[in-house]
């Protein structure tokens, strides 16, 4: 049975409301059947997709759209692989033409091995995209000053990393994320770093609007089962956040009453 979340506990980005607080990628799966099954199990309503050259020597190759229906899921085109603002803007203009919508995920990355967000290039690309009418959800460093600037520019969601892309190291920066959550007036999503269900729950417990992940599901031994685990973890973390955790204390505090003990 699904965890009972309060009715109307939705979140809104760029005027669109969603119930699921799990956004999943569509990359790294064994095949499209597994992609579709994992996404279904995750309960996600938004999926990220990449934009790449068509293989002209095999135009009848199966397409993602045939397995993950863009009418059922909101496609969020990304700029993965872009290392300059110019490439990111070109890629998303193509995505808008292919898909016909303005909601996009901007990521401009520095070089391996960190693939850390290149913030100067991200600012440049965000400015160009917003001017061109895009609604930009932006992957960024866990830097509250950078996040504020992106928000002031008009980005519709701030998406700091919890750890490097594809690392599965979990949420390494809960204190900084908490500060960013506190100051954000737009949705804040942890994007990158989640490795397993407890990581997603931690992100939600500290108050993130939603979690974006790909490798944690796709690279699990059983991706469909992990997708289900992530769905439950995000819901559990959200519930815990809404419930308000107990205060931490240094000493013990017995749960059973001390009165009425036998002598």
């Amino acid at each position: 049975m699904d965890a009972p979340l309060p009715a109307g506990d939705t979140w809104t980005v760029a005027g669109r409301s969603f119930r699921s607080r799990l956004v999943v990628g569509t990359g790294k799966y064994k095949d499209f059947q597994q992609t579709a099954a994992a996404i279904e199990a995750s309960g996600a309503e938004i999926v990220t997709v990449a934009v790449r050259r068509v293989n002209l020597s095999d135009p009848s190759a199966p397409l993602l759209q045939d397995h993950v229906d863009p009418k059922k899921y909101t496609y969020l085109p990304n700029t993965a692989g872009c290392h300059t603002a110019k490439d990111a803007v070109r890629t998303l203009r193509l995505a808008r033409e292919a898909g016909g919508w303005n909601l996009v995920k901007l990521e401009v990355l520095g070089p391996p091995p960190t693939l850390y967000p290149d913030m100067p290039a991200t600012f440049e690309a965000a400015e160009a995209l917003i001017k061109d009418g895009f609604e930009v959800m932006v992957y960024c460093a866990d830097d509250p000053v950078a996040a504020r600037r992106l928000e002031d520019m008009g980005c519709v969601a701030i998406m700091p990393l919890g750890a490097p892309i594809g690392s599965g190291l979990g949420v390494q920066n809960p204190a900084m994320l908490s500060i960013m959550i506190e100051q954000a007036k737009v949705p804040l999503l942890v994007d990158a770093g989640v490795g397993t269900a407890s990581d997603a729950a931690i992100a939600m417990e500290i108050g993130c609007t939603a979690v974006l992940l790909n490798s944690a599901i796709a690279h699990a031994t059983d991706p469909v089962r992990m997708a289900r685990a992530m769905k439950l973890a995000v819901e559990a973390g959200r519930l815990a956040h809404l419930a308000g955790r107990m205060p931490r204390r240094m000493g013990a505090d017995p749960s059973s009453p001390l009165t009425g003990l036998i002598r």
Partner: protein, 70 residues
Amino acid sequence: MRTVMTLTLNGESRAFDGPLSVAELLAGLGLDTSKIAVERNEEIVSRSRYAQTWLGSGDSLEIVHFIGGG
């Protein structure tokens, strides 16, 4: 008048008989135009203009679609 044109398609140089529109090129390549996007010399060609956009020798085209990504 028929001409031979050289186009660069997704980074690969190929020869075509002209005149040739974007619509004719895509049909010849067997592509479903509802699922792709085309950029010609770094400018988007909107789907509604495929039929009246004529290609010239030396044009460079990027033809893309959505694939799985994170």
